[in-house]
Amino acid sequence: MIRTLSALVRRDLMLAARVGGSGSLSLVFFLMIVALVPFALGPDLNLLSRIGPAILWLSAVLATLIGLDRLFQADEEDGSLDLMTASAAPLELVVLAKVLAHWITTGLPLALAAPLFGLLVALTPTAMGATALTLLIGTPALTFIGAVGAALTASIRRGGLILAIVVLPLMIPTLIFGVSAAESALSSTVPFTTPLAILAGLSLIAAVVGTLAAAAALRWGE
C-alpha cells in the first residue's frame, strides 16, 4: 500500500517536473491576478491592505483551477487509469496519492509565495504571515474539492469550464473561513484560532469526502 502510494506520488511529481506542467503556470496566474487588482483599484494603500487577504485568497481559489482538469483526464486518455485500477490498492488510495501530488505542485507553492505576493497589495508582515498560514491550511480543501470535479469531468473533452462551474460554489465555505481567519489576525474581534480551526476542519472533511467522491465518480464514469 505505502509502496503503491509513494510510487504514484513520485511518478506524478516527476511528470510535473519534467513536463513543466500546471504548477508553475498556476503560480504565474496567481501573480497575474494579484498584480492586476492594484491597477483596477488605484493607489489607495489603506484600501489595498484592508482587502489584501481577500484578494490573495480569491486569486488562490482561481489559480487552483488551473491544471485541475488534467488531474485524471491525462491518465484516463492514455490508459494509465486502467493500469491503476488493476492495482491491488483501492482506487481511493490512487486518488489520494494523485491529489497529494497535485497539491504539492500547485497548492503548496501558492501558500509559500503568498507572503511575497502580499507586497503587491501592501500587506503588513502580520497579515502576510496569517494569509500564508491560512492558505497552507486551506488549499488542501480546495484541491480535494476540485478533485471531485476533475473526476466527474475526466472523460469529457474540454471539461475544464464545466469543472470550474461545478467546483467553485463548493469552494465558498473554504473561502469564507480562509479570509475571515486571515483578517481576524489583524483585528481583535475574533481570536485567530477559531476560524483557523474551522478551516483545518474543512480541509480534513474535504480530504475524506473528496477522496471517496472522486473515486466513486471515476468508477461510475467507466
Binding site: 509502496r3 510510487a7 511528470l15 486502467d82 485500477t85 488493476a86
Partner: protein, 212 residues
C-alpha cells in the same frame, strides 16, 4: 487459475453489443477472440478487466485465493498506459511498484523484447512499434496469471511478433492464461477461438422497439 464466463452480455450506450457469451479457460490455455470490426472484442476484454460492467451474465475466477479478477491480469491494449515524458525504465518501474509481485527488472524485460537500448529514452521518442514493445514488457516485470491482449501485434514487425509468440508460449507453459483479441494468427498453439457473431437483425429490432 481458472476463468469462467457464463452467458455474458454487453450493452454500451444502450446498444446491445453481444449476448450469451460463455467460455471457460483453465491454466495454460489460450483464447483467441475474433470477429468483424465493432463486434465487441475490445468490449469483451474491457468486461474481463473490470472496466465495464456486464449487462447480464457472470465472470468468475477460481483458484486465486482472495485476489479479485482485476488483480490477476495484465492488459495491453490500444491505450498503452505509458507516459511519454518518462523513460521506458521509469514507466516499467512504476508498473512494477503499482501492480506488485515483481519478477524481472525493467532492463531484462526490455532485453527480452530486444529494446534494451531504449531503457533511458523518453517513451515519446519511440516509434509506435517500440512503444507497443515497452507496453508488452510490462507483462514481464510483474507476474500475473491472465494476459488480456487487444491486437497485440498491431505495429509490431515480424521479428517482434515471433518474440511475442515465444513469450506467450512460455507464459502458458508456466500455467498462465492468454485472452487475445486479434485478426491474425498470433502463433498461439492449439488456442481456442471465440467468434463474436453480430446480433441478429430481428433481435436488434425487437430490442430497439420500446412498444414490442
Amino acid at each position: 487459475m481458472r476463468l469462467i464466463v457464463e452467458s455474458l452480455a454487453c450493452r454500451r450506450s444502450g446498444r446491445r453489443i453481444f449476448s450469451g457469451l460463455s467460455f471457460a479457460l483453465g491454466a495454460g490455455e489460450a483464447l483467441m477472440v475474433t470477429g468483424r470490426n465493432g463486434a465487441g472484442k475490445s468490449s469483451l476484454l474491457a468486461l474481463l478487466s473490470g472496466r465495464l460492467k456486464p449487462d447480464a451474465g457472470t465472470i468468475r475466477v477460481e483458484g486465486v485465493g482472495e485476489a479479485t479478477l482485476p488483480e490477476c491480469l495484465h492488459v495491453v491494449g490500444h491505450r498503452d498506459g505509458l507516459k511519454g515524458a518518462l523513460t521506458a525504465q521509469e514507466n516499467l518501474d512504476f508498473a512494477r511498484d503499482l501492480l506488485g509481485q515483481p519478477t524481472a527488472g525493467p532492463r531484462e524485460a526490455l532485453e527480452a523484447l530486444g529494446l534494451a537500448h531504449a531503457l533511458r529514452l523518453p517513451v515519446t521518442y519511440l516509434s509506435a512499434g517500440q512503444r507497443r514493445r515497452v507496453a508488452l514488457a510490462r507483462l514481464l516485470v510483474c507476474r500475473r496469471p491472465l494476459w488480456l491482449l487487444d491486437e497485440p501485434t498491431a505495429a509490431l514487425d515480424t521479428a517482434s511478433q515471433g518474440v511475442l509468440a515465444g513469450l506467450m508460449a512460455k507464459h502458458r507453459a508456466q500455467g498462465g492464461l492468454v485472452v487475445a483479441a486479434t485478426h491474425q494468427s498470433l502463433g498461439l498453439e492449439d488456442a481456442r477461438e471465440l467468434r463474436i457473431a453480430p446480433p441478429s437483425p430481428d433481435a436488434a429490432l425487437a430490442e430497439s422497439d420500446p412498444w414490442a
